[in-house]
């Protein structure tokens, strides 16, 4: 070929120069475990449903959510949101208000009538669920989704368990609960009310292939208090339960609640709403040692509930109590001082914890009970094959969310047990820590605080205390999510590569590396806002 003067080679593109051969490390797109998902007792894929909510696709967000938890409207109200406690955004400004978005999605689903679906053909297997609380409902839903025929037997007159008979209306309106329960029943789950199971083996002989027990812990613990005949003492569980009946408990003008847990706060706040002039919580330790969650204590104080720290009830008489002052010893344990004082009280509500009624388990071979709760293995199965258990009757923290998580976990294992296989949990990816993020890319955006009903109105009514987010601020709140450890499509890797070695593709997360040219500099890893890329050594 004729070439110009002094030119000996044909012109070519640098594309012939495969700079990928320089590399000793390569970038790899990964999915890491967001701390919210890691902390969720119900195992929700929070980051993923927020991802859908961020684009305003609320129905897909809700569908992602209900894969793990069929009660989002309830959960958004009553969960103590450990997800928010672990949220990486807390280290930047404030954690994402996950519960607010969850509640918004739950309410939106009720408003729009979104329904749950069954994903599998009927299996012909029948499963008995004992107890229609959070754990039982969760298990029933997960089993029904997997094509099993489910019957729930509930001892009480209505479904909901502690969600109905323990949590006051001002925290969980009953129409919300009813709607979410009904949605589960609509899957074809049979609910038998006032149907207490007294012998589990007998009940199962009715043609059931497996059983999930979730009877809860409904018996209030009593403490021995020397009391005069006329002293009015009742337990918090009974008191809160009777709020659901025709006759509301008569407590008098001055109510003393004994205990320092969340139930004590619920009882005191309920007493205040029933017209008590004074609701006083008596607790033997100090505020920082209270098992109640801080915001519950705070809301109780705002509503005028009074607290008496470092005190025990020594004696109860009609209209008055004798308290003994305590002091904490070196190990933080309260010790009596011998010093007493009197307190006027028309009634005493004991909120000292609950126990499970396990009488239905008498004579079940292999089943073990320890410290008043049933032992289960990591598949939630008791020592008796085919009988699984969860919720407050097994050793765990007693919350609605833990119950829902147990129900899901048990259902998955019941399903595989019925099919004669073992449930294999997918290996947990690495936790996405704050240090893996490049937070410079995130705009500053403080949390949208859900407006609180004004305190005066709260004291006299059972209206809901915390109001929900609306579509506008729910979207804003969802978009505060940092998407820890999971690509959210920001194009940073695509933009910052000095070698144009990132391609947009129609698969995976939408990006892929062009390893012919990637030199392995690692800028994409460093500049990925959410820590969804890592460097791995080349194997040559």
């Amino acid at each position: 070929m004729e070439k110009p003067f002094a030119i000996t080679l044909d012109v070519g593109s640098s594309l012939a120069n495969k700079t990928g051969s320089w590399r000793d490390e390569r970038p790899l797109y990964v999915h890491r475990l967001p701390p919210c998902n890691h902390a969720c007792p119900a195992g929700e894929n929070i980051q993923q449903w927020l991802y859908h909510a961020e684009s305003g696709e609320y129905e897909s967000a809700w569908r992602e959510l209900v894969k793990d938890n069929p009660l989002p409207a309830v959960m958004g109200r009553v969960c103590y949101h450990p997800c928010e406690t672990s949220c990486n955004r807390a280290q930047l400004d404030e954690s994402v208000g996950i519960h607010g978005v969850e509640r918004f999605l739950g309410d939106e689903a009720i408003r729009r009538g979104w329904r749950l679906t069954v994903d599998r053909e009927p299996t012909g297997k029948r499963v008995l669920v004992v107890g229609a609380g959070p754990s039982g409902l969760s298990a029933a839903y997960q089993l029904a989704r997997r094509g099993h025929a489910v019957t729930i037997r509930e001892a009480g007159p209505m479904a909901g368990g502690m969600m109905r008979f323990g949590i006051p209306r001002y925290r969980l309106p009953r129409d919300v609960l009813d709607a979410e329960v009904q949605r589960i029943l609509d899957l074809g789950v049979t609910l038998e009310l006032n149907a207490k199971v007294t012998n589990i083996l007998e009940a199962m002989s009715d043609g059931f292939d497996a059983a999930f027990l979730a009877v809860g812990a409904h018996i209030g613990k009593r403490a021995y208090i020397p009391a005069g005949e006329a002293a009015h003492i009742l337990d918090a569980v009974t008191m809160l339960r009777s709020m659901e009946g025709e006759e509301r408990p008569l407590l008098g003008r001055r109510v003393v609640v004994y205990g320092g847990g969340n139930t004590a706060m619920d009882a005191a706040r309920t007493a205040k709403r029933l017209g008590a002039e004074e609701a006083i919580v008596v607790y033997r330790r100090t505020r920082d040692r209270m098992p109640a969650h801080d915001f519950e204590v705070e809301e109780a104080l705002e509503e005028g509930v009074m607290m008496k720290w470092l005190s025990t009830i020594k004696q109860a008489e009609e209209g008055r109590l004798v308290l003994e002052k305590m002091e904490l010893d070196a190990t933080g344990f309260p010790q009596p001082t011998g010093e007493t004082e009197e307190l006027e009280a028309d009634s005493v509500v004991l909120a000292l914890g609950q126990e499970a009624d396990l009488s239905l388990l008498h004579g079940v071979p292999g089943l073990e009970i320890e410290d008043g709760v049933v032992k289960v293995d990591e598949t939630m199965m008791t020592g008796h094959p085919g009988i699984f258990a969860g919720g407050d009757m097994v050793p765990a923290e007693r919350t609605v969310t833990v119950g829902v998580g147990h129900g899901k976990q048990a259902a998955r294992n019941i399903d595989t047990w019925l099919r004669g296989v073992t449930f294999e949990h997918a290996p947990q990816p690495e936790l996405a820590s704050f240090e893996m993020l490049n937070v410079w890319y995130y705009a500053d955006a403080p949390k949208t605080v859900a407006p609180h009903l004004d305190a005066v109105r709260r004291q006299s009514s059972f209206d809901e205390v915390t109001l929900g987010l609306d579509a506008g601020n729910a979207l804003f709140e969802a978009r505060r999510c940092l998407s820890c450890g999971n690509c959210f499509g920001c194009d940073n890797c695509y933009g910052v590569c000095p070698d144009n070695a990132v391609m947009k593709v129609d698969r995976d997360d939408g990006y892929a590396f062009d390893l012919d040219y990637c030199k392995g500099c690692g800028i994409c890893v460093e500049e990925c806002p959410c820590g969804a890329i890592e460097m791995i050594p080349e194997t040559i």
């Binding site: 080679l9 044909d10 012109v11 070519g12 593109s13 640098s14 594309l15 012939a16 120069n17 495969k18 700079t19 320089w22 961020e54 684009s55 410079w440 890319y441 995130y442 705009a443 500053d444 955006a445 804003f476 978009r479 505060r480 999510c481 940092l482 998407s483 959210f488 499509g489 920001c490 194009d491 940073n492 695509y494 933009g495 910052v496 590569c497 000095p498 070698d499 144009n500 070695a501 947009k504 062009d514 012919d516 040219y517 030199k519 392995g520 500099c521 690692g522 800028i523 890893v525 460093e526 500049e527 806002p529």
Partner: protein, 342 residues
């Protein structure tokens, strides 16, 4: 105080793009249709800031001119790594001549286009800091004072990297280079020498002068766009970290550029007709130490023992930038400048 409006989803305006933004709100670099002016296979080092800066700037210029643009390139890293004969990485009309004459070549192209009546085709001249601030400076100043219709872009990596990291007029004080070794009582480059090309460009009172970094893509793209909307001589000075010459990790290129801006080491501003018209504020102010530490060219400031007095002098220079350009976000927070004390 009024809360700043939240404009963008999740990552604000800082990320390259975002799946939830309208395409016109995303940066050009997020677009699959970007020119990729300098394509794959170029021989720049891992994590090269200059390769990145050149693509950012030229892709933006290509968009601003609808692809009707010619680039003239001074000798330097950018020329050597992109065009080893007979290969080239350029996907735009591109010409190379000598180390010191890129502004003059640009001027010539602009003059030829004018003679041919081709006002639709625009000219961009470009080079590194050596070719711009030192060797080509007379040609550049001539191009400015004549007002030739050229956007000249300097990719500043603060030394002659292509020939083995020798000091240039843009090398910062205390930096170790091959010609300013970290030895003696004042190790590294001396204080009190060197120059600011953007300020000299402003002294020519040309219509547009701006600085930018590879850490702020949107800002850089907006400045190229603004420059191409104006006729006459224009100057853009882009801060591009060099992992090889600075002794920084290749993955840290953008991070170091960000730190240069956030510490006040490198002021990011825009000037029209010789006056500063806007500055890019520091978002989260950091001490200069954060910028110096990840770079081996400043290692002698920390080992064997910390040279706190030298670090303090560098901090004082950064503080002067902050004062001079008003780089802090809230003017009330800036300590009052006593003035005249020096």
């Amino acid at each position: 105080m009024k809360a700043p409006p939240i404009r963008f989803y999740q990552t604000g305006s800082f990320a390259v793009g975002n799946r939830l933004l309208d395409p016109e709100q995303r940066s050009l670099q997020s677009d699959e249709q970007r020119t990729n002016s300098i394509t794959c296979g170029h021989r720049a080092c891992q994590g090269c800031g200059e390769a990145l800066g050149a693509r950012y700037a030229l892709d933006a210029a290509m968009r601003a001119t609808n692809g009707r643009m010619i680039a003239a390139n001074a000798t330097g890293c950018l020329e050597v790594f992109s065009t080893p004969y007979p290969e080239t990485s350029w996907r735009i009309p591109w010409i190379h001549s000598l180390f010191g004459n890129a502004p003059a070549v640009s001027t010539g192209i602009a003059a030829a286009l004018r003679a041919k009546g081709r006002e639709d085709v625009r000219v961009v001249g470009q080079g590194g800091d050596g070719g711009t601030v030192d060797i080509g400076f007379a040609c550049l100043s001539g191009m400015f004072e004549r007002g030739d219709d050229v956007l000249y872009i300097c990719y500043d990596n603060e030394a002659y990297m292509n020939t083995g990291v020798q000091r240039s007029g843009a090398t910062p004080p205390a930096a170790r280079t091959a010609t300013t070794q970290a030895v003696g009582p004042e190790p590294g480059n001396v204080f009190g020498q060197g120059k600011s090309a953007p300020l000299i460009a402003m002294a020519h009172e040309i219509p547009y002068v701006a600085t930018a970094t590879v850490a702020e893509l949107r800002d850089l793209e907006a400045k190229v766009q603004a420059a191409m909307e104006i006729r006459g001589a224009r100057y853009l000075h882009v801060f591009v970290p060099c992992p090889l010459g600075w002794g920084s990790a290749s993955k840290d290129t953008i991070r170091i550029a960000r730190l240069a801006k956030e510490t006040g080491i490198f002021p990011v501003f825009e000037a029209r007709d010789g006056e500063v018209s806007s500055v890019s504020k520091i978002r989260r102010q950091l001490p200069v130490e954060d910028y110096l530490r990840p770079q081996k060219r400043f290692a002698h400031l920390f080992e064997p023992e910390p040279r706190t007095e030298v670090i303090a002098r560098i901090q004082a220079r950064a503080d002067r930038n902050i004062r001079r350009f008003g780089l802090l976000p809230d003017p009330e927070d800036v300590p009052a400048y006593s003035g005249g004390a020096t």
